[in-house]
Amino acid sequence: SQTIHQWPATLVQPVGSPLSLECTVEGTSNPNLYWYRQAAGRGLQLLFYSVGIGQISSEVPQNLSASRPQDRQFILSSKKLLLSDSGFYLCAWSRQLRAGYTFGSGTRLTVV
């Protein structure tokens, strides 16, 4: 069966520090991978998605970036965090999008 792992679960980082969140999928190949952010009390905002290794589509201009170094690995990064980067970050995958997404357990990031 397919599983998605996302870590860490919680992160507190100072303004200006770098960020690296990792997401990996097991039990499938060539998945579509997604990064979403959810601000408090808000819906999910699509940040990046990838349909293959090295293929990254950015939805929102910001100081975040994403990379897909391996087929089942998706990384969200920042060189210098801003206070506005605080939020709940969710990774998701889909093999056939007709069945919807499967989400990871999320990372709650607080920038202080």
Binding site: N32, Y34, Y36, G41, R42, G43, L44, Q45, L46, Y49, V51, S57, E59, L90, Q96, L97, R98, A99, G100, Y101, T102, F103, G104, S105, G106
Partner: protein, 111 residues
């Protein structure tokens, strides 16, 4: 700009009540409408609706899509405290490469 709009933003009802959550969308190249339930962490999939007028049911939950009027509703009958959650509506593009979400409806069920 493509968007998904949900209403109400929040709703408080008593256990046993029936609720209707609304979702409207303006999405170019629309394929399907999805509903998710989010409790503490990751959203969990409820329904995917692709055709108009066909109701999907799962226990006390049901949903229907109107592709002419560009909206969907999610009904929950005989609500229970375990139904308390954020309910998210999302639109799937016909390219099947991404989904955009609405802001969610926060539903609270009082015993």
């Amino acid at each position: 700009e493509d968007k998904v709009v949900q209403s109400p933003l929040s709703l408080v009802v008593h256990e046993g009540d029936t609720v209707t959550l609304n979702c409207s969308y303006e999405v170019t190249n629309f394929r399907s409408l999805l509903w998710y339930k989010q409790e503490k962490k990751a959203p969990t999939f409820l329904f995917m609706l692709t055709s108009s007028g066909i109701e999907k049911k799962s226990g006390r939950l049901s949903s229907i899509l109107d592709k002419k009027e560009l909206f969907s509703i999610l009904n929950i009958t005989a609500t229970q405290t375990g139904d308390s959650a954020i309910y998210l509506c999302a639109a799937l593009y016909s390219s099947a490469s991404k989904i955009i979400f609405g802001s969610g409806t926060r539903l609270s069920i009082r015993p």
